[in-house]
């Protein structure tokens, strides 16, 4: 294999990388939802208590 070809992943390595990427995507999505929930429930009803 010529050096410029770089690293070639085996089918199994590609499969595991894809699974890891999907898991990371889910974890990031969950983190976004968690921060959104924390914001909403920390604000509670106080969000309405402001001059309109």
């Amino acid at each position: 294999m010529a050096e410029e070809d770089g690293v070639r992943l085996t089918t199994e390595q590609q499969r595991q990388r894809r699974r890891r990427n999907v898991a990371i995507a889910w974890a990031l999505g969950a983190l976004v939802v968690l921060f959104w929930l924390v914001t909403i429930f920390k604000l509670g009803g106080n969000v309405l208590n402001r001059p309109l």
Binding site: Q16, R17, R19, R20, L34, K42
Partner: protein, 350 residues
């Protein structure tokens, strides 16, 4: 590739009175100051990773995590005042992730001894499925995220306690005490005992006598629980060079210590009924269960030879799990049902 080549700093060969004793024993003990005791094929080197998602889940030690979540939940529910259930669930998730991060960092540091113990040699790092650097990054990332999110969702006392717990487990217990002294699990047990206090702090913003009592129960429970396991697995620990009490001080001394800690634990387990945490059901259950605990420990103390001795240690180990679960579950059930707690001795003081 060795652990050193993977960027891991080995513990230095510090002096330890027990270690000389350990090395003179019957078991072939691995030198803790030796750097290259893991051979090349046992660790994943740089390059494409074959680690699966399930390997990263295994790094979180899910079974340990479940007990941590449970005790933190009891602290959260037993605390006066109300944390919104959604924020409470997020707090528990943070405690769970923090505990998992501690597990990953523990496995990163302990990969060398995990590789020589039958109980742990199939863990992701010694089995070569996850590189040490991956586990380190994973553990540090989850530690930071869990502490930040807990601080934001509840309060920074709870966040700080979680950070302290992770620090205590990884640095004080794993890196320092575990390989240095047979008192490793006595002191290190504090890390496993703190989750109820984190739950309490998340709900109230304070740490009270009540949460300290729950911590004290787990703290006192830890030595007999782990030493019962160590009696069964002492050959494993000796092979790995971990100075567990049976390896260093002998099995008879361990049996004596188990009995002493059990005698101290039994009244401590009843204490929640005296400080407004438990009701009549808790008082009855903790009294009977505490006596039974001492009974199991007494059998471990008396039976010292052969299969009956191992069986007694195994029974104590299993019963200790039941004991802690039963005590905390009773508090949880009583609080959930709104059962009035007993406060007689300190009525009006708190």
């Amino acid at each position: 590739m060795t652990l050193r080549a993977a960027g891991r700093v080995r513990p230095s060969g510090r002096s330890c009175p027990e270690r000389a004793q350990l090395k003179s024993g019957a078991y072939p003990v691995m030198s803790l100051a030796h750097d290259d005791h893991l051979d090349a094929p046992t660790l994943t080197g740089p390059g494409p990773s074959l680690a699966g998602v399930e390997d990263f889940v295994a790094l979180l030690k899910p079974r340990v995590m479940s007990l941590v979540i449970f005790t933190a939940l009891v602290g959260l529910v037993a605390a006066p005042g109300g944390l919104h259930p959604v924020l409470g669930a997020i707090a528990l998730l943070c405690v769970a992730v923090g505990a998992g991060a501690s597990g990953a960092l523990n496995m990163w540091w302990d990969a060398d001894i995990d590789a020589v113990m039958t109980r742990t040699q199939n863990r992701p790092i010694p089995a070569g499925r996850v590189a040490p650097g991956e586990a380190l990054g994973f553990g540090l990332l989850l530690s930071g995220v869990s502490v930040m999110l807990l601080g934001l969702a509840t309060n920074w006392l709870a966040g700080g306690l979680l950070a302290f717990t992770i620090f205590f487990y990884v640095v004080v217990y794993t890196m320092w005490l575990k390989r240095w002294t047979p008192q490793n699990i006595v002191i290190g047990g504090l890390a496993g005992a703190l989750p109820p206090m984190i739950g309490w702090a998340a709900a109230t913003g304070t740490v009270g006598l009540e949460s300290a009592t729950l911590v004290a129960i787990i703290f006192m429970w830890t030595p007999p629980h782990f030493w019962a396991l160590a009696l069964i697995k002492s050959e494993d620990y000796a092979r790995a060079g971990v100075p567990m009490l049976p390896v260093v001080a002998g099995e008879d001394e361990t049996r004596k210590q188990i009995l002493l800690y059990s005698i101290a634990l039994a009244p401590l387990g009843v204490l929640p009924a005296a400080i407004g945490l438990g009701g009549w059901a808790y008082l009855a259950l903790s009294s009977v269960a505490g006596l039974a605990f001492v009974g199991f420990a007494w059998r471990v103390y008396r039976l010292r030879e052969g299969v009956p001795a191992r069986r007694a240690a195994g029974k104590l180990f299993a019963y200790s799990l039941f004991y802690l679960t039963a005590l905390f579950a009773t508090i949880l059930i009583e609080k959930s049902l709104g059962v009035a707690a007993l406060t007689a001795p300190f009525d009006g003081w708190m």
